[in-house]
């Protein structure tokens, strides 16, 4: 098919063709990057936490009298909660994973800050902690009651745990491919910590942190406050929350319970709210942009068909088949789209580069660009399809008529 006549026809309405090409260029740059960013966010939100995060809730319990029997309170509360219906397990915990609030420390594979170095989120709990989070041990054992250190009073001293259960993420960071179980690792003051168990996967507190999968549990309980973390059977969480609040207040009104108690699913959603907002916005804008590009192409094609009715009639009269007319308009559209796509590729790469410097993201994946180009070509042809068919219906008799 000869494209010269198409080109010369296009040049007669340069502005219209130019505008559609420009629109396609911006569209390509925008959607390729938007889809890329959305994929990143959706993947991030969908990562498994390793924790039974849909069936856990937590709340602060704080005592405010200096001579209050904190450990007695904890013992009795835990005994009561653990035998309540639908409760799988409960444990005191200093911080809660996925909540946005947490502690972290630096650890080393050798004493004197030597060897491999890695930070990790630390969780202070008792021997029920791992079960209350619903994490799975891939090696070693869970804590036993005599692993737990109970402090009678609030101490200012730093605590040096003798043993810990660590996530496989931390194990890999400290010990590379060596098995971590039974080995010691060290804090910044060279106190050794023995690995007694390895969790197959567990995320920490800050979902935006690139080391979120480096976590460790150790066992200590200390006044004056802690969070109760309670894991329940699926579907029973609202019921258990109501029952626990009533039961705790009844057992002892002389402490402050944090209400409403927080579901871990809500904390998780809150932690990812920025990401999900970004994903929703990007998806919405991408869809709208595609719709408008399609409408723009459709508008130009319709205009071209309308303003060339006589020309089409003439072509039909001198022997062009309907198919030739359809092909002509589709080819014209393809040329405009292609011009837009070429400029758009450059714009998309530039925008991708800017984003990668903004977000420290890997550079835009070229598959997205290829997908975007193919998608826009298809979209262009689809949008021009109806006007092209209408053009094919123009009767050859039009050539002889005044419009």
């Amino acid at each position: 098919m000869d494209i010269r006549p198409i080109l010369s026809a296009l040049l007669r309405n340069r502005a219209g063709a130019f505008l559609v090409a420009l629109q396609i260029a911006i569209t390509l740059a925008l959607i390729v990057n938007a889809v890329y960013l959305t994929t990143q966010r959706v993947t991030k939100i969908g990562r498994p936490s390793g924790i039974d995060d849909q069936n856990i809730f937590a709340f602060w319990v704080t005592t405010y009298e200096k001579d209050y029997d904190f450990l007695g309170m904890l013992r009795e509360d835990m005994a009561m909660i653990r035998q309540m219906p639908d409760v799988i397990d409960a444990a005191p915990m200093g911080q809660v994973p996925l909540s946005g609030s947490g502690n972290s420390s630096g650890y080393y594979s050798l004493p004197d800050k030597k060897g491999e170095e890695s930070p990790a989120n630390t969780y202070e709990t008792d021997d029920h902690g791992a079960r209350a989070l619903g994490v799975t041990l891939s090696a070693g054992r869970d804590f036993e009651p005599n692993d737990v250190v109970y402090k009678q009073t609030e101490s200012r001293e730093r605590f040096y745990p003798a043993s810990a259960i660590i996530s496989s993420g931390l194990a890999k960071a400290l010990f590379k491919d060596q098995p971590a179980l039974g080995k010691d690792f060290y804090d910044d003051q060279s106190h050794p910590i023995r690995v007694i168990g390895v969790i197959s996967h567990m995320q920490g507190s800050w979902v935006g942190w690139d080391k979120v999968d480096r976590t460790l549990l150790y066992t200590r309980v200390e006044p004056p406050s802690t969070q109760y973390v309670i894991r329940v059977k699926p579907g029973s969480i609202d019921r258990v929350i109501a029952a626990v609040e009533v039961a705790l207040r009844k057992r002892d009104p002389n402490r402050v319970l944090e209400t409403p108690m927080r579901k871990m699913s809500d904390m998780k959603r809150r932690s990812y709210a920025g990401d999900s907002l970004m994903a929703v916005t990007l998806t919405t804008v991408t869809t709208l942009v595609l719709v408008f590009s399609a409408l723009g192409i459709f508008g130009l094609a319709t205009f071209n068909v309308n303003s060339r009715t006589r020309q089409i009639g003439t072509r039909r009269a001198v022997g062009a088949r309907k198919l030739d007319i359809v092909k002509y308009f589709l080819a014209e559209n393809w040329l405009v789209t292609s011009a837009g796509v070429i400029v758009g590729c450059a714009m998309a790469l530039a925008a991708g580069y800017w984003l990668s410097t903004q977000y420290q993201l890997p550079r835009l994946d070229l598959y997205y660009l290829v997908g975007g180009v193919l998608g826009l070509w298809a979209l262009g042809q689809l949008a021009a399809w109806q006007p092209a068919l209408r053009a094919a219906k123009v009767s050859p008799a039009m050539a002889t008529r005044n419009v």
Binding site: I26, V256, A273, V285, L288, F292, S293, L295, G296, L300
Partner: protein
């Protein structure tokens, strides 16, 4: 003449209602997306200190690890040098506070929550607490509902006085004037000396270490009580040095940072003097083996402080760029549609030219039509934008930082958006209107 052009525009809309609706929707959607992201951006980028922004300064001195810069990899937005910590050690906070250069000064930290009874027999309450020196209230222009702040003498005591937020006063005393009433805390009686009026600067510029849109404190207590009662920090505490910390006193003496210092410096001379004071202080401390890093001190005004702490996050910026790219697509689309529409109606314009209308008349006629489309688009877009902002607050306000709770809904915004829409529509209409005005009437008349 305008009325006549508007009538012509209306007639033209009636001829192609679908095309007209399409243009209105294109402008409306582009405008509404921009309005939503702009509102979010402005909420985050706001400087609530207003005209005091330029006289309030946060001190940031580099007491950090010799081997690693604080926030390694990040640099100061103005100088491009490594950042210094955004908090102070206890010793440094006290030393800076002792300077008599500033017109006003404060040191503070976010303490553990107070768990207390307001009166015997009441349910225990808890308040998030800020330990601060007296000038806090004057420097940040904190409004009082009842009573007032404490003074420097109460700081020195420290006197057992407490200032409650309006919300905390509601919780503890049912909202009545509670000045003089007693709060029992840590087995001591604290006397309520003032109750604040509603006060929620967004972003919470004076302390962004726990997030710039974090909840406000419920209670304010003289700074020195923190040391008397040995209260730790509820906010961030960052340490770099390997040192033995086995008591509260050793924690205070450590290189851990958890304090903030703000200084009111009204003249350029004082600002300069205070900068020199900071440098001299650090040089003096170096002689005692502290401050192992190169001299790297900053004095940020409120604007600089918000930038240094990246209060406007990258997502906000990316969304703003995205929104304007989207508006660009919508406008290009509108230009294309207007052009097609005008050229389709070119024979009519040709007749009008032949009957004596000048090029300029034709141009203005078509520009009026573009303006009318844009006005309609702007109004629809403004309403859509309002709905979008409302939906954002309703769906995400609970989860996203409180920034979204504070999204402004004001009439001004709405008018600005409509003005932008009309402006954009007129720009979009310029070329098509010029093009149609330039067309020679004869060529169209011939075909007819």
């Amino acid at each position: 003449m305008l009325a006549y052009y508007l009538r012509l525009a209306l007639a033209s809309f009636r001829r192609n209602p679908g095309l007209t609706a399409l243009m209105v929707i294109a402008i409306a959607l582009g405008i509404s997306v921009c309005m939503i992201t702009l509102t979010t951006y402005r909420a985050a980028a706001k400087n609530p200190a207003g005209d005091r922004s330029g006289v309030l300064f946060a001190a940031s001195i580099d007491s950090w690890d010799p081997d690693h810069a604080y926030d390694e990899g990040e640099t100061d937005p103005d100088t491009g040098k490594p950042l210094a910590p955004n908090m102070l050690t206890y010793r440094d906070a006290r030393a800076l506070f002792a300077s008599d250069i500033p017109d006003r000064k404060l040191i503070m930290y976010q303490s553990n929550d107070i768990y207390t009874r307001a009166d015997k027999g009441m349910e225990p309450q808890y308040f998030r607490t800020r330990m601060t020196t007296a000038d806090f209230f004057a420097m940040f222009e904190v409004p009082f509902l009842y009573g007032g702040p404490w003074n420097a003498r109460a700081d020195a005591g420290p006197d057992p006085v407490i200032v409650l937020s309006k919300e905390a006063n509601q919780k503890a005393f049912g909202g009545v004037n509670s000045v003089g009433r007693i709060i029992h805390w840590e087995k001591r009686d604290f006397r309520v000396i003032g109750v604040l009026d509603s006060w929620e600067p967004m972003p919470k510029y004076f302390d962004v270490s726990n997030g710039a849109f974090e909840e406000m404190e419920g209670a304010y207590v003289p700074f020195s009580w923190g040391q008397v009662l040995e209260l730790g920090s509820h906010g961030n505490t960052n340490c770099w040095k390997t040192e033995v910390i086995d008591s509260y006193q050793s924690f205070l003496n450590s290189e851990c940072i958890w304090f903030h210092g703000w200084f009111e410096l009204r003249t350029a001379a004082k600002q300069q003097a205070f900068r020199e004071f900071l440098d001299n202080y650090v040089l003096e401390q170096k002689k005692h083996g502290r401050f192992p890093r190169p001299l790297n001190n900053y004095l940020y005004d409120v604007d600089g402080w918000l930038k240094r702490n990246k209060v406007v996050d990258d997502d906000n910026k990316a969304m703003l760029v995205l929104a304007f790219a989207f508006l660009a697509v919508c406008l290009v689309n509108t230009v294309g549609l207007l052009l097609a529409k005008f050229l389709n109606a070119a024979p009519t314009a040709g007749i009008r030219r032949a009957l004596g209308a000048s090029r300029r008349d034709i141009f203005w006629q078509h520009l009026t039509e573009s303006g009318a489309v844009a006005l309609a688009g702007g109004m629809v877009g403004g309403l859509l934008g309002l709905a979008g902002v409302w939906a954002l607050r309703a769906w995400y306000g609970r989860f996203v930082d409180q920034a979204l709770r504070a999204l402004p809904f004001d009439a001004n915004n709405f008018l600005i958006i409509i003005a932008i829409a009309v402006g954009a529509g007129l720009v979009a209409g310029l070329y098509p209107a010029w093009r149609i005005g330039r067309a020679a009437p004869a060529s169209y008349l011939k075909v007819q």
